[in-house]
Amino acid sequence: MCVPDASFDFVARNQGLVRGLPLWGGAIGFAGLLANRAISGIAPVVDASSSQSRADVLGIVMSAVLLLTGLQWLSLKARPVEAIAQDGTKVAFLDAKAKLPEAAAKEIQWAWEALSSTARVTSLVVIYQGRNVAHLGLARPGHAAGAAKAGEVAAKAMASGKGNYLANLILYPGRLEFVQYLPETTQGAVVQPIGSQGVLVVGTDTQRGISRLDQAWIATIADKLEVTLEGYTAPQGGVGFGGKGGSSAKAVA
């Protein structure tokens, strides 16, 4: 969440006021010193001749430093990130036919609950060994939960072992693979591989709303899922007997 922490600090509570403080201080310093000169009838000459002008010079130097600091602080402002309204349908799909181990199912549930409460996450999709094992949160209206497939971006992430954050999904031509199972209005997606056989896709409704910290947490969660799913083989769908595909009805000559 890009909402600043406003709990315990005076500074945190009055961020706007405090951020402008050096700028105001510098401006008032300048203006005050000049006004002082004007009122006292001394010509505004900046040199070190009299003790008055020496004091003024020091004041002006400090005002300049304060102004520069204030300008530098303008980059400290937290960017407000707005959420775009989503048009997806809520699903909470854990593939029963996949026969996930109990621990893994609970972990995926916990991951969804944690991510949705701490980060601006609207959907979580787990694809393991080509099978959509879980889809929690928002899904594309009309999409049957459980049919998500890993596309190019996800495959690349699995191959390279590194996660990928598509901050502004609209700009990427590769968004087609995500929009098939996530709502059309998903603004960003994080793709994190689970080992080399699975991928965790996290969708958000904000552009650039997932920070480095959130990505680090998603990576940590994916690592844990990898360990939990070790030794688990997703049953390949479609074929009745053991999934090998070869029909035993072929006559052997």
């Binding site: 006292s40 020496r54 004091a55 954050y165 680090a216 844990k224």
Partner: protein
């Protein structure tokens, strides 16, 4: 006579016989026909006033009659080129596109200079968007640029005092007013780095700040209770690792219901660690856990807040700095090192607690605290 003519002829050797003169200059009238140079060559060919309009056609439609361009036998520097007529594979093109700023291969980057340094400085949101923001740094090694206002304020204060003492006595009122204003400015300058620090702490999502190398009065331990099953141990190991890696904390202690401490990792107070440093052997490790359990029990008795967290009436107790820790009686715990400046106590279902130590005041921003709460729900 012949010899006289020959001799006379010799005299006229260079002269042409008149009837042999031919051409334009044979009559005297030729001067009328002799043009001057400005008549027959008014403008040199290179600088004619009127330029010719040369009709030409589209070069691609004009057949090139020159054979040397097509003579591949003699001229094999120009080989026949094959046009790639494969249809464009959009998917492959899309897949090879850089998806993150890290994927883009640049030519060797230029380094930052001493005067102006490019690249987002520490003020931006971590290094999420590496926007080239030029930030002037003084480049003094070992000196943090955010302390510049403080240094300037201090120097100005000293000089102002000097000026006041050595200046014209009695001090004119104008100077008094100026000095009063300057004193206010000095105060603001000195406070500015502190405010900057707080503002940076409030910035969300900055990620893990650099962990301190050594926390004062702490020893690095990693202990898990022996009696736990393997799966639980792995779970706790991952949980503590995740917290230490992603949140701004330096030590984690996990206690399950019934006052039983099951894990301790990171920089724990050396009072509790005792001899259990480094390898955390089985005998020595339990010392830490016992000490932690005693601390929790004592803390619950001593402070109502701690007891409320343990019972579950209160989900989190956040002690952002040493003063708050002292008020809650937490800084006397053995597991809390001297160098820990903030502490978060999180309720775990079943009467347990998750203790997270930070080595800086206000170390855990709101997001980190939510993650601690989420992790506690996992247990």
């Amino acid at each position: 006579m012949g010899s006289i003519v020959k001799a006379l002829g010799g005299i006229f050797k260079g002269f042409k016989k008149p009837w042999e003169i031919t051409g334009l200059t044979s009559t005297v009238d030729y001067l009328e026909y002799m043009p001057s140079a400005s008549d027959y060559r008014k403008h040199s060919p290179g600088s004619q006033p009127v330029s010719a309009i040369v009709p030409h056609d589209i070069p691609a439609l004009v057949y090139n009659t020159r054979y040397y361009g097509r003579d591949f036998r003699r001229n094999n520097k120009y080989t026949a080129r094959v046009v790639d007529r494969t249809p464009l594979d959009v998917d492959k093109l899309v897949a090879s596109m850089p998806l993150t700023p890290e994927d883009i291969k640049f030519s060797p980057a230029s380094g930052g200079g001493g005067g102006a340094s490019g690249g987002g400085g520490g003020l931006n949101d971590g290094d999420e968007l590496d926007v080239a923001v030029f930030r002037f740094t003084l480049g003094i090694p070992g000196f943090d640029d955010s302390l510049v206002p403080r240094v300037v304020g201090g120097a100005a204060a000293a000089l102002l005092a000097l000026n006041h003492v050595l200046g014209a006595q009695p001090v004119p009122p104008a100077q008094e007013r100026a000095e009063f204003l300057c004193a206010l400015l000095v105060a603001l300058c000195v406070v500015t780095p502190e405010i900057e620090e707080r503002l940076k702490q409030v910035l969300p999502g900055r990620g893990r700040q650099q962990a301190a190398e050594a926390v004062d009065g702490a020893a690095r331990v990693f202990v898990l209770a022996e009696r736990l099953p393997e799966a639980d141990k792995r779970e706790l190991a991952w949980l503590t690792f995740a917290l230490l890696k992603n949140a701004n904390c330096c030590g984690v202690v996990v206690a399950l219901g019934g006052g039983e401490v099951v894990a301790a990792r990171g920089a724990i107070g050396s009072g509790a660690a005792g001899g259990a440093s480094g390898s955390g052997g089985s005998g020595g490790g339990e010392v830490v856990l016992d000490a932690a359990a005693k601390d929790l029990a004592r803390g619950a008795a001593a402070s109502a807040d701690v007891a409320a967290v343990l019972r579950g009436q209160r989900q989190q107790l956040w002690l952002p700095d040493r003063a708050a820790m002292a008020r809650a009686g937490v800084d006397s715990w053995a597991v809390v090192p001297r160098g820990a400046q903030s502490l978060l106590l999180q309720h775990v279902a079943g009467g347990g607690a998750l203790v997270v130590l930070g080595d800086r005041p206000r170390a855990l921003p709101g997001k980190d605290r939510s993650w601690v709460a989420a992790l506690a729900r996992k247990l």
